[in-house]
Every structure is written in structure tokens, then in C-alpha cells.
């Protein structure tokens, strides 16, 4: 057993020494290879982490959101609907929500305005997210004039800037009092943007949604699970789009790696002949070549994945954030919680290390099966 291990060790040592002899070729291959792994791993890490953030975010969301639809479009819902929905068996609570968007033509940013009864700001005051403060250059105590629905300016005092750790949720948020919200948007009394419904038994959520649909045909209940699915699709789609754009680079690499891995130089062929003539078996040569392939691909994999990890979780994926985060000019700044999906890492491993190692073995096998007397005649 010891001799077997020693044999593998000796051949591995020689494989590393062989790779170092062709530094230029192997380092350039390693750099391109690691870069491709880095790009793919960054996308995988980033979308996984965002999906997880979205899932955590939606944990605090209501089980059901009920919106009113008019001609297939979202319309303010009468608050009286809430009383009738609360009477449905199984519904724990119903609360009307007031929210909307405010477009700022100077910065081109869209802000989310929310009227909240929970710790509301003072009259004609607002709380703002750190993204809003950043883009509008606002600090606490400063006045900010918003253009109302009737064209008249409404001046608000910034009472508080929401803490940075809630940036994913609150980056573009403006929290406002209910009466100020209605005045700003000329939002009718007795109406809300939608209704948040809490259900005691989560299994009953689809049944209750069906009952609401029947009782109020002009409404559309949206389940929390549907929202989760939408987030998943959005991030998968974005990751997929980036991959499609990068597919040319990936394809170029595949061709490059295939060319480098499969083409043995005359020097390498001669070396295989020498090794065979001095007593190496075909199996020994194949082991040597597979070790060479594995050292390259494994190093590229580890370097690519490690740099991708640092890039995503320590530098907020600065290379891809515009493609993967948000859709407006207002990009939230936040650190993602490291999430690693072993399944995705395994898939990435087998898609990168496996094919390259096989690609290096095939030509070596062809060269190694020739009679060793070829070396005598070279």
C-alpha cells in the first residue's frame, strides 16, 4: 500500500515539476481558466445570496396581499373590504396599506413612499432610506420639497435616516404620515393601496384566497409563495442573462482550453517516448498527464471560487451589480450574507475540472500507447 501511495506521490511531484517547466503556457491557461470560474461562481454566489435575502425579507411579509383591479389594472381598494375579509373564518388580521412611488426627474430615481402607523414621523416630516439620503444629498433636519399630485410643492423635514443594515429593504424608502401621504398624492379617504391579510393556519392560505376572490370578484389576492417565486425567477433570469452575455467568453475559453489541453507539443511527445523507454508504463504516463490536468483545473477552480467569494461577499459584487441588482438609478449598498450552495459548487466543479482533465488525457493516451522504441530512434 505504501509503495502505491509513494508511486502516486512521485508521479504527482513530477507532474508539478513538468507544469513549472512550461510556466508561460500553463500560467496563461490557469489565469483564463480561473477568470471564467470566477465569473460563473460570482453569478452563482450573488443570485443565491440575493434569493436568500429576498426570502428572509418576505418572511415578515403578510400571508396574503389583496389588491383591487379595475380593467386589469391596480386600483385603490376600499378599506371596508377589510372588515368583510376579516370576518372570513381563519383570517387573523387585516390591515390596509398605503404606499406608492415618487419619481424625481432631476436624479431619474424612483422612491418608494410608505405611510406607516408604526412609529410614524411628525407632521410634515419624513424618514428616508440611506439610498435616498445619498442620491439627494440629504441629512437630518434638512427640508425637501416634493411635487404634489396637484402640482403644488409640499415641503418635508428629514426627521431620521433609516439605518444602513436595513438597506436592502429601505434604501429607496420614504416613510411618511398617513395624512401627509393622502395630501401629497391626493389619495381618496376610505381607500388603501392594498390590504395585508394574516392567516392563522398557513395551510389555509390558498382556500382563503379563493374565498376572497369569490366574495370580491374585483380583487386579486397575491400569495406570499407567489411573491417568493417571482423573486426567484427574477434573480434566476438576471443570472441567466449575464451568463448568456458572457457565453461568448465561456465558449472562447472552452476552445482555448481544448486546444491547449489536446494538442501535445513535439517536446511533450518526445518526453512521453523517453518515459516509456526508461520503464514507465502507459498507465504511469496517463497518471502523470491526469495529475497535470487536475493540478491546473483544480487550482483554477479553487482560485476562481475563492476570488468570487471575496468579490461577492466582501466587495458587494462590484463588477456585476448593475446587471444583477435593482433596476433603477438607485442601487442599494449592502453587504450580502455569505451563502454557499454545495450542490451548485459541485456542479461547477464537475463542469470545469472534469472535462479539462479528460481533455488532457486523450491525446496523452494516444501518444503513450506507441512502442517505447520510438525514443530509441528519435
Amino acid at each position: 500500500m505504501n509503495r502505491r501511495i509513494e508511486r502516486h506521490r512521485n508521479i504527482l511531484d513530477f507532474a508539478i515539476s513538468s507544469l513549472l517547466r512550461r510556466k508561460g503556457k500553463n500560467l496563461s491557461l490557469l489565469a483564463v481558466y480561473a477568470f471564467i470560474v470566477f465569473i460563473i461562481a460570482s453569478i452563482v454566489f450573488f443570485t443565491q445570496a440575493l434569493k436568500r435575502e429576498a426570502t428572509l425579507l418576505l418572511e415578515g411579509a403578510p400571508d396574503l396581499v389583496v389588491q383591487r383591479m379595475v380593467a386589469g389594472r391596480h386600483d385603490p381598494i376600499p378599506i371596508t373590504y377589510g372588515d368583510k375579509i376579516a370576518a372570513i373564518r381563519g383570517v387573523s388580521a387585516v390591515s390596509p396599506r398605503l404606499w406608492g412611488y415618487y419619481y424625481d426627474p432631476f436624479t431619474g430615481a424612483n422612491f418608494t413612499l410608505v405611510a406607516s402607523d408604526d412609529d410614524p414621523p411628525a407632521k410634515e416630516s419624513i424618514y428616508i432610506g440611506s439610498g435616498v439620503a445619498r442620491i439627494m444629498r440629504l441629512t437630518t433636519g434638512v427640508h425637501w420639497s416634493l411635487r404634489g399630485a396637484k402640482g403644488t410643492p409640499a415641503v418635508f423635514s428629514v426627521q431620521k435616516i433609516l439605518p444602513g443594515n436595513s438597506e436592502l429593504v429601505a434604501s429607496d424608502l420614504i416613510q411618511i404620515r398617513e395624512d401627509d401621504f393622502r395630501a401629497l398624492f391626493d389619495f381618496p379617504l376610505g381607500r388603501a393601496t392594498d390590504l395585508a391579510v394574516v392567516v392563522g393556519n398557513k395551510v389555509e392560505v390558498p382556500t382563503i384566497a379563493a374565498k376572497i376572490s369569490r366574495q370580491f370578484p374585483d380583487t386579486r389576492p397575491i400569495l406570499k409563495s407567489e411573491m417568493l417565486r417571482t423573486y426567484d425567477s427574477v434573480f434566476d433570469w438576471r443570472g441567466g442573462m449575464v451568463l448568456v452575455i458572457l457565453s461568448v467568453a465561456v465558449l472562447s475559453f472552452v476552445l482555448f482550453a481544448w486546444d491547449k489541453a489536446t494538442a501535445l507539443s513535439a517536446e511533450e511527445r518526445k518526453e512521453i517516448g523517453i518515459l516509456k523507454s526508461i520503464g514507465w508504463e502507459t498507465g504511469d504516463v496517463l497518471l502523470l498527464k491526469s495529475f497535470e490536468g487536475m493540478v491546473i483545473s483544480l487550482t483554477a477552480y479553487l482560485v476562481g471560487v475563492s476570488v468570487a467569494y471575496l468579490h461577492v461577499f466582501f466587495f458587494s459584487a462590484s463588477l456585476f451589480e448593475h446587471a444583477l441588482k435593482g433596476w433603477s438609478v438607485l442601487y442599494p449598498r449592502f453587504g450580502l450574507t455569505p451563502v454557499i450552495d454545495p450542490y451548485q459548487l459541485c456542479v461547477l466543479f464537475f463542469l470545469t475540472v472534469g472535462p479539462y482533465t479528460v481533455a488532457t488525457i486523450v491525446p496523452s493516451w494516444l501518444a503513450a500507447t506507441v512502442d517505447p522504441d520510438a525514443a530509441m530512434r528519435s
Binding site: 520503464g279 514507465w280 504511469d284 522504441d373
Partner: protein, 242 residues
Amino acid sequence: MIELIEVSKNFNAGRANQFTAVDRVSCSIGLGEVTILKGPSGSGKTTLLTLIGCMARPTSGRILLHGIGKGCLPGSPVDDSIEITSLPERFLTGIRRGTFGFIFQHFNLVHGITVLENVMLPAYPTGESVPELRHRARELLELFSVSRHAAARIEQLSGGEMQRVAIARALINDPAVIIADEPTAHLDSKLSCEFMEIIGGFKGQGKSVLIASHDPIVYDTALADAVIEMRDGRIIGAGTSP
């Protein structure tokens, strides 16, 4: 003893350029002796060496090893004869590695690695530990007065030094038979004579030496126990030392 019975080797069989490199050669090579294969280029010397050294299989005929190659085949009795012509590649490699040490005309050293690594190279697949191997390789380099170049790259050496490294490499697995193909082709007369002195040392240690050469320094040497003369793939004369 190495016994060859009606051994032939054809290349490019069935094609227009088919030719017979070795034609029904029968001879015996004694153990512990220096045997010289003499003849002009294209006479079949190198092909015969490759057949004896398990590097290629003959097209027809039999090659038998009597009293050497023991332990290279699993379960083979010590005094048994081995017919190498019918063995699969794996066993042939085992015999080649354990029984024969090769010195090539062009040295066939691996460039880019050190002298020491080149000497150790044939023993890597045997699974011997690196410290033991390194120790033995250093002893061999010492023996051939090239130990000061142990850490140097092979391409930094002169022709004579490369020759010595190639000899050290041939001895790393302590083979019973040394096979040398035109070993003095790239050496001047002084270095050729030094090489023959080394061969004398092998003979003194009881090793068998088989040399293919058309250099008079080699085939006229007093060390030769037998000289086999070849032409056009056939033996045209055999005798003892001149």
C-alpha cells in the same frame, strides 16, 4: 543467458514501404559478458537491441531470458526462463524497468529538470520513497564524477557530462543488463575511451553489457567477450574478442 531463436522484425507490414529490419536472427548472449553488435547504419543493430530490451515485440521468433528478469513477473520461479515475446505490455514494462538499463545514442534526457531528477526518473513508478531514491541517485552521480552538477539543469551540461548522467540513470534500478545504442557517437576519442573504462567497471561488477556500435574504439576493445557482426538485418559473423 539471453537466447534469440529465429527472431524477425518487419516494419510497415502490408504496405509498399514494408521492410525487414531483423531477419531470422538466432544467437545467445552470455550473462556477465560484454557483447558488441557491430555493423553499418541500417544493419538492424538498434532494432535487435529494442527487441531484446522489451521495447518492441518481434514479428516472429522467440526471445528467452534465462536466469534474469526474476521477480519481475508475479509468481515466476527464480530459476525459470521467461519468454518475453508473448508477454503483455504491463509485464514487458516490468521486465524492462527491473532488468535492463538503457543508454541512448542521443542520451534522451528530459530537458528543463535537474540532473538529479533525470537520474531518479526511471524509478518514480516503482513506488520507492524519494529520500532513498535521492540517496542512490547522488551515489551514482558521485561514481561518475558529475555530482557537482546534481542541481543543474540538463541542458547546461557538456556532451560528456550528459553521457555520464545517462549512464547513472540507466543504473538507478540496478539492472542486470546494460543496453547501449551507439554510446560513443557524440563523444570524442578521449571521452569514448573513458566510456569504455566505465563499461569495464560494469563487467567487473558482473553485469551483462550489450552495445550496438560501428565505432572501432568500441568493437575493437579488449573488454568484449563476443562481437556479433550484422548486415541487412542478418548476422554475418560472430566471434570472441579480437
